[in-house]
Symmetry: C2
Subunit: 457 residues, 2 copies
């Protein structure tokens, strides 16, 4: 009776979501949303081409390759090939390893890595046309972001790595749509996905994080394949008394899963990072790069203090002195600010182990001061440089680049892909890949697009 009472608090969410995904068609998708899908895929290849040569990937590939049934699918930026489950896992890891991928602002889910990785792997085992791919991708992103919305902000705050925990639903629904599963089977896929959801914030900054991101892509795909063979699951995997939303949420907003479904698209709330850092650093880095360009190296040497005025979240998330690794430095204002000022750069090289241990940068870290100001939005910041021997310099950024209000342009995304492709040293032809992504709507075979992102033989 307890169960029955609890589940009356909400409608049949799992069934409604499955029905929606089953019925959704390309014609329903507005033009700007179609374009945003391409931008997400472009950004995906950009970050995956950077991540492909990280030691995390080298190690994961070494172990996963032992358990691959065959060379069905390409690895982005690499020469190895794996079966589609393992390829999905490795490519999702690569796209997310630097946390440089897209961000669904209301939940901070990185939505593309699990979904695109599963779909591209599948596309190399069966023909998938561009429009079908884009529709399935959109629906996967929609499912995972809405499920994440229903349990945010509690879920991440509690310690769940939301990209991993919710990504498994995105992968499952995208693959399920492409495999044309019935509504009942999509519901079962949600169930087997729910049973595989996992991932912890504690693992951020370590290789372990990548395991759960890879699992999200891999296991969502597995859930859909199992469901296709009538491997059944609970009737209410999301909203049941012991279902995903209640177990991973505190007081879930059930309605968030289905409210305005098909009218409002979550991909419209996705931003792409200009810097490989925690997003709260964006306005600070914009300001520091502007100051660096204006002032020049010589004057920077006479800095007495660097004052950051911002929303309190900046201090809460990035007041991290004395970090020791490149990965930690991505969420450290004490590193990000000096490197942007002194090197005039804030790309992946600026957040490497080498940069972290540069004595010139380490000397500036202790000069950073935080001033909380609740009137600032998280997209704005003021940086004031005070000198021993001259008047202060300051830069105010009202809206950071890469925010929803001031998104990266298509050209900036292309540049990001070219830069990151160079960083990852795969030898992949960035220009050709960029062209294929912009043309994907008319593509006949998304598997061939995926092959373009592999390292040349």
């Amino acid at each position: 009776m307890k169960n029955a009472k609890q589940t009356t608090q909400c409608g049949p969410i799992s069934a409604l979501l499955a029905d929606f995904i089953h019925a959704a068609s390309w014609e329903q998708i507005p033009g700007p949303i179609r374009h945003e899908i391409k931008r997400s895929v472009l950004n995906y290849f950009a970050v995956a081409l950077a991540g492909c040569s990280d030691p995390t990937l080298d190690k994961a590939v070494r172990t996963y390759a032992r358990f691959s049934s065959g060379p069905a699918a390409a690895l982005i930026g690499r020469g190895e090939r794996m079966d589609m489950l393992n390829a999905a896992a490795i490519n999702a890891m690569g796209a997310n390893v630097y946390d440089y991928d897209d961000t669904h602002i209301p939940t901070i889910i990185h939505p593309t890595a699990p979904v695109a990785s599963a779909l591209f792997a599948l596309s190399q085992t069966q023909p998938v046309a561009g429009k079908d791919f884009m529709l399935a991708f959109l629906l996967g992103v929609e499912a995972q972001c809405r499920i994440g919305l229903a349990i945010s902000p509690f879920h991440y705050d509690k310690g769940w790595h939301i990209t991993s925990t919710c990504g498994v639903f995105g992968s499952a629904m995208a693959v399920g749509k492409t495999r044309r599963l019935t509504p009942a089977r999509l519901r079962w896929a949600l169930g087997s996905a729910a049973c595989q959801a996992g991932g912890l914030v504690e693992s951020l900054g370590t290789m372990s994080k990548s395991v759960s991101v890879g699992n999200a892509a891999r296991n969502g795909m597995l859930a859909a394949l199992l469901a296709e063979d009538d491997f059944d699951g609970p009737a209410r995997p999301l909203e049941g008394a012991h279902g995903f939303l209640r177990v991973f949420g505190d007081a879930p907003d059930f309605d968030a899963v289905t409210r305005e479904l098909g009218k409002e698209w979550e991909i419209g709330k996705v931003a792409y990072k200009p810097y490989p850092c925690g997003v709260v650093l964006n306005p600070v880095l914009d300001a520091c790069l502007a100051l660096s360009a204006r002032i020049g190296m010589r004057r920077l040497e006479a800095i007495a203090s660097i004052e950051l005025t911002s929303h309190p979240l900046l201090r809460q998330r990035t007041d991290r002195p004395n970090v020791r690794t490149g990965r930690e430095s991505q969420v450290s204002a004490q590193h990000a600010v000096p490197v942007a000022l002194l090197r005039g750069a804030a790309g992946l090289e600026a957040f490497s182990d080498e940069a972290v241990n540069d004595p010139a940068l380490r000397a500036l870290g202790p000069l950073v001061r935080f001033h909380d100001d609740e009137t600032y939005s998280i997209d704005s910041a003021k940086v004031v440089l005070r000198f021993h021997d001259q008047p202060p310099e300051q830069e105010f950024v009202r809206v950071a680049r890469g925010s929803l209000e001031r998104p990266l342009t298509d050209a900036e995304l292309e540049t990001k892909l070219r830069d990151l492709c160079r960083y990852g040293r795969s030898g992949c032809d960035a220009g050709r890949l960029i062209g294929a992504v912009w043309d994907m709507e008319d593509g006949k075979d998304m598997g061939r697009l995926a092959e373009l992102a592999a390292a040349p033989a």
Copy 2:
């Protein structure tokens, strides 16, 4: 600072556990504990030989086989072979599919399925001696049960499938011990295990449950293999501010992980089920089988009511009229009581779809009445049969068979294996397997023992 404060509430639990597992030796293990390991393995093969032919397994094997890199390891009771990760998953599913496996009473974890499945799969890829296997098995069980203890009873009540969520640690530590990982690598394996922990109570009674049980075996193994290659993880995967215990627990009893470690062994609190049902039904079934034997079929037809007096948990867990599937019937007193009375049997056949739809049994279900009595322990029950035309009959069971106080004997476990082997129809030689398990302490190659449980060619 918040993190620092929170983590001072407990010692370096992850490191202490890893150190303990690294240092533990066979000589430390008391004789009765050594014997209990063999009983656990015997019970494991029994339940896995029954589960091997369930449709859940057929479907899982069909999909997982597509992603197996080679025939490294046997599937219990089946003819297929798979790579060790997939074999570990499938065998864990088979051992747990009927929830007929061993139960760690304080947590209701089914500890053996994930741990033994990983270890037997590994043993088919490298030589593992009996004593090494038994030690690694014991340590895996110890790790997962203690981690489960620290978050019980909140964890399961909230909706986590504790066998899945904690089993991944058991598999990781057992494989890590066998691979002789250093303490630091064992800690990383705990981290990659923590990032893969998942599984929901909502899935019970559906095939989806088996996915997470399989993952526990598979992913724990993966975590250990990754750690062996220095794939790193967080320093405090269990006790960190966003680590496993705080995220999956409410007010974790951190100390439960390390208290009396090496002195008190959790395997000593494991019971083996006499019936394939929720354990609260054990005393009721004991009583009903005794009544059935005493009274005979003819008088049972004149039953007016069947009164169950017990701890309230019996009613809370098993008051389920009108179940429709064999699986649901395993937790339904309205089915369990009639079938034990009318058929004088309470094995897997008694909880099949066929039995559930037997009109004679369905007619008796509505006659079942529950009487809560807080003075009863959960291992005791009274069953009173009232007749239309004759005096009542009753049976009181003080301590159910299969409880910690009245465990199944070695001979009963052997019988369970023989019965379940027959049920599963694999054609496996039960007698030879039983002999090998009792002799495992002196065995040179546990991979060969695993081969004995495969279906004959």
